[in-house]
C-alpha cells in the first residue's frame, strides 16, 4: 500500500472570522482566571519566551566578555570576575529552570496535547492553572535573588561553595524549589490526561508520538523533581541554620550533594530533550508526507530513555570522588542509554527516505535538530568513555556538548514546534521566507558559536573561566561572533512572529496536511476544541487518499 498526498498543499477552508478561544470570553481577567489549556499554554508560552530573552541576553554578555582576555570591548571593560560568575550562573539557572524545562511541555504541550488526543481539556484544568501561578511564584523568587545581589554558584549549586558564598543562594534555591512543583503538576496532569482522555478508538499505539514523548517526560518530571526539591531544601537549611549535611566543615559530605543533584539533573536532561525529540517525530512525517518509520521503536525508546535515564547520574562525577567500581558501572549504563536516542535518529532518516519532502521552516528546524543532536550525541560518547572523560570533564568540551543537545536539540525542537503549530495557535501564517532565513541564521550562528568550543575543550580550556590563556583568543572571538548571528536569527523570528499577529486570521485549519487530530479542528480552535467529539478512524501518520481507509 502506498501513501498518496491527498489534499493539495497549503489548502484548507478559506479562513473567516469565527468564534474561537482567543476572543471569547474577552478581557484580561478572563485570561488570568482561565482553565482552558490553550490559554494557559499561551500564558506559559509568553512567560518562557520572556525568560528565553533574559537568559539569552546573559548569554550574549558572557560571550562579549570573553571576546578578548582583557575583557575590554570598544574601550569598555565588560564584566569583572565576580559579575561574570553571576552572569553565567543566572544564564544557566534561567535557561534550564525557567525556559527549557517548561518550554515544550508546559507551553506547546499544554496547547496541543489535549487536542492531539481529541480531548476538550487536560484531566485537571485547575491544577493546570495552579501550575502556571506556581511557576511564576518560583520565577518571582528567582528575580528577588537576582536583584538582591545575584548568585555566583553556577546552576549546579555545588556545596560547600554554595553554602559558604555570601550571594543570594537561599532565594534562588527557594525559587527553583517552588518552580519545581509547577513541573510536577504539569507532569501529573499529562499522565492522567493521556491515560483517561484519549478519543474513542484511540489506543495507546494510535496516539501521535508527541504524546508518547510527553508521557515519558511526565514520568520523569513526577519522579525526579521531588529529589531536586529535597536537595535544594537541605542545602538551604544547611546554609541558614549551619546544620551539617553537605558541608565537610560541619560534618557533612559534599559529594553526597552531587549525587542528589545529578539524580535529578540527569533525568532533567531528558526532561529537556525528550520533548524536542517528540516534536521532531511529528514534523518529519508531516513534511515528508510519509508514515513514520518504526512507530513502536520510537515510542518505546522514549520510555526506555525515561527509565535508564535514572541510572546514569554518576557520569557527571567521574572525577568527583566516587568509587572506581561506581565509575565503571555508570560508564556502562551511560553507553546503554545512548542506544534509544540513536534508534530515533535512524527512524527519522528512514521516514525521510523515499518521502515527498518540502522544506518549510518547521522542517528546517527538524533537520537542524537531527544534525546538531547527532553531533551532541556523538560527543557524548567521548564523555562516556572513562579515560577521555577524565581529560574532558569540566572543560569547554562539556559546554559545547550540552549546548549541542540542549540548544541544538531542545531549542531547535521548540522553534520547530512553535512554527509548526503557530497557525493553529494564532490563526495566522508567519512570513515563510523570513522563517527560513531565520532558521538558517540560527543554524549557522549556533555552529559558529559552539563548534570551536569542542576544540578549546579538547585543548584543555576549563569551563567557568573568566580569564583564559591568550592561545584561546581567536576561537573565543569566533564563538562570540557566532552568538551575534544566533541573536540576529532569533530577533528576526520574534519580529515576523509578532508581525503576523497584526494580520486578520489567514491560517487554514490544516496548512501542512497533518493527520493528527489537532489539525481536524479550526484555526484558532474553539474553546471546547472540537464541535463534536472526534473519533480515531486512522493512524496519526496515515497519508492515504481521503476515504479509502
Amino acid at each position: 500500500m502506498a501513501d498518496v498526498i491527498s489534499a493539495p498543499f497549503h489548502a484548507g477552508t478559506t479562513p473567516v472570522e469565527r468564534r474561537n478561544y482567543l476572543t471569547e470570553p474577552k478581557g484580561l481577567w478572563s485570561w488570568l482566571t482561565t482553565v482552558d489549556h490553550k490559554r494557559i499554554g499561551i500564558m506559559y508560552l509568553i512567560s518562557v519566551m520572556a525568560f528565553f530573552l533574559v537568559g539569552g541576553i546573559f548569554a550574549l554578555l558572557i560571550r562579549l566578555s570573553l571576546f578578548d582576555p582583557s575583557h575590554v570591548i570598544l574601550g569598555h571593560k565588560m564584566l569583572d570576575a565576580e559579575t561574570y560568575n553571576k552572569v553565567f550562573t543566572m544564564h544557566g539557572v534561567i535557561m534550564v529552570f525557567l525556559f527549557i524545562i517548561p518550554s515544550i511541555p508546559a507551553a506547546l504541550g499544554n496547547f496541543v496535547l489535549p487536542m492531539m488526543l481529541g480531548a476538550k481539556d487536560v484531566a485537571f484544568p485547575r491544577l493546570n492553572l495552579a501550575s502556571f501561578y506556581i511557576y511564576w511564584a518560583g520565577a518571582a523568587l528567582a528575580m528577588v535573588a537576582i536583584v538582591t545581589g545575584g548568585v555566583d554558584t553556577g546552576w549546579t549549586f555545588y556545596t560547600p561553595y554554595s553554602t559558604s558564598t555570601d550571594t543570594s543562594v537561599a532565594w534562588m534555591a527557594m525559587g527553583i524549589f517552588i518552580a519545581g512543583f509547577s513541573s510536577i503538576f504539569t507532569g501529573l496532569n499529562f499522565i492522567a490526561t493521556i491515560h483517561k482522555l484519549r478519543a474513542p478508538g484511540m489506543g495507546w499505539f494510535d496516539m501521535p508520538l508527541f504524546c508518547w514523548g510527553m508521557y515519558a517526560t511526565a514520568l520523569m518530571q513526577v519522579l525526579a523533581t521531588p529529589v531536586l526539591a529535597i536537595t535544594l531544601l537541605l542545602m538551604t537549611i544547611e546554609r541558614l541554620f549551619r546544620i551539617g549535611i553537605f558541608d565537610a566543615s560541619l560534618g557533612g559530605d559534599p559529594v553526597l550533594f552531587q549525587h542528589f543533584f545529578w539524580f535529578y539533573s540527569h533525568p532533567a536532561v531528558y526532561i529537556m530533550i525528550v520533548p524536542g525529540m517528540a516534536i521532531v517525530s511529528e514534523i518529519i512525517p508531516v513534511f515528508s508526507r510519509k508514515t513514520i518509520f518504526g512507530y513502536r521503536m520510537i515510542a518505546f525508546s522514549s520510555i526506555g530513555i525515561a527509565l535508564i535515564g535514572f541510572l546514569v547520574w554518576g557520569h557527571h562525577m567521574f572525577v568527583a570522588g566516587q568509587s572506581q567500581t561506581a565509575v565503571v558501572v555508570f560508564s556502562f549504563l551511560t553507553f546503554l542509554v545512548a542506544i534509544p536516542s540513536a534508534i530515533k535518529v535512524w527512524n527519522w532518516l528512514a521516514t525521510m527516505y523515499h518521502g515527498s519532502i518540502t522544506l518549510e521552516t518547521p522542517m528546517l528546524y527538524a533537520i537542524s535538530f537531527i544534525l546538531l543532536f547527532t553531533i551532541g550525541g556523538l560527543t557524548g560518547v567521548f564523555l562516556g568513555a572513562l579515560s577521555i572523560d577524565v581529560h574532558l570533564t569540566d572543560t569547554y568540551f562539556v559546554v559545547a556538548h550540552f549546548h549541542y543537545v540542549m540548544m541544538g536539540g531542545t531549542v531547535m525542537g521548540f522553534l520547530g514546534g512553535l512554527h509548526y503549530w503557530w497557525p493553529k495557535i494564532t490563526g495566522r501564517m508567519y512570513h515563510e521566507r523570513l522563517g527560513q532565513i531565520a532558521a538558517a541564521l540560527v543554524f549557522i550562528g549556533f555552529n559558529a558559536t559552539f563548534f570551536p568550543q569542542f576544540i578549546m575543550g579538547g585543548q584543555g580550556m576549563p569551563r567557568r573561566y573568566y580569564n583564559y590563556l591568550p592561545q584561546f583568543q581567536p576561537m573565543h572571538a569566533f564563538s562570540t561572533v557566532g552568538s551575534w548571528i544566533i541573536g540576529a536569527g532569533l530577533f528576526l523570528t520574534l519580529g515576523y512572529l509578532l508581525a503576523s499577529l497584526r494580520k486578520p486570521y489567514d491560517a487554514p485549519d490544516n496548512p501542512w496536511g497533518g493527520k493528527t487530530m489537532e489539525w481536524q479542528t479550526q484555526s484558532p480552535p474553539l474553546t471546547e476544541n472540537f464541535e463534536v467529539q472526534p473519533v480515531a478512524t486512522h493512524g496519526p501518520y496515515d497519508y492515504f487518499p481521503v476515504g479509502t481507509h
Binding site: S356, L378, N467
Partner: protein
Amino acid sequence: MEWLRSLILPAQGSPYAAQVDTFYMFLVWLSVFFFLLIAGVAVYSVIRFRHKPGDVTPHWTHNNKLEFAWTVIPLAILMVIFVWGVKGYMEAAVPPGDAQEIRVTAKKWVWQFEYPDGTRAINELHVQVNKPVKFVMSSEDVIHDFFVVDMRVKHDILPDRYTEIWFNPTVVGKHHFECAEYCGRGHSDMGGTLYVDDDASYQKWLETGGVDASIPLDKLGSMLYESKGCSSCHTIDGSPSQGPSWKGVFGHPVQLSDGRTVIADENYIRESILVSGAKIVKGYDNIMPVFQGVLRQREVDGLVAYIKTLGNK
C-alpha cells in the same frame, strides 16, 4: 594524522597522554564517519525525494531486521569504546609502587605543594623526568580540581578526604596545570606551571628548596622561624616559652644543665639547631626536635644569621 591531533589536542607530556590521544582520535574518526552517514542520508533524501505534485510515498511502517541491525551494531561499537575507556581509566587510577609522593593542598586560590623532604612550593611544581609521581590532594575550603592538561589527568580536591592522581612525566620542559572545578572569584587564575626537570636541575631545585637565592640570609631565617615551626617554642621578644627566647642569646654566655657555661657563637647555635640534645640549656627539657637532615645548609645559615641579629637587643 599527527597534524590533526596536534591541532585539536594539547602537547603530550607522558606515555599515558599519547594513549589517551590515540583513543580520542579513534573516536574523532568514528564520529566523522557516523555524522557523514547521517547527514548524508538526510541531505540525499532532501534532494532526491523533494516533493513533486502527484508524489506517492511508500507505506513503510517498520522492518524488524533493519531495526535490529541499527540497534545491535551501534551497541557493539559502544561496548568496544566502553572497554577501551575502562582500560585507560584503570591504568590512570593505580600509581606504581615506587611513585614519588607530593602533597597538594588547594585553597582559594593558591596551590601548595609539599615534597617528602619538607620542601614547599606555591603555584609552582617541579618533578623529575621519567620518575612517576603521585599527588595526594586535599582542600582547605571548597572543592577544587587539579588538572594537568598535558598529562590528560585531573581529579577533584575535596575538603573532607584525600584524592589522588599520578603521572609519569617524560617530556622535559614547562607544562601547565589549572583548577578545573569552579571555586569563585579567583577560579580562572588558579593555575601554575609544572616544570619537568632533568635529574641535575631537579636536584639543584630541591637543594635550594625552590626558595629564591637572592633573599638575604637573615630575611630567609625570619621566614623559616614561622614556616618551620620554631615560633611554637621560641619567642623573639624575650618572654619565655617551651624553649628559651632567642632575644639576646647570640654572643652571650649560656648556662647549660650540666653546669658548664658556653658562649653562644655560630657553632653553638648551629649545633643547637641540628642536634639540640648535645647541649641542653639549663631550666629546659630536651624536647626540641632534631633538625639534622630536615633543614638545608642555606636554611641553617639563614636561621643562624637571623638569631644573630636578635643577639644585641
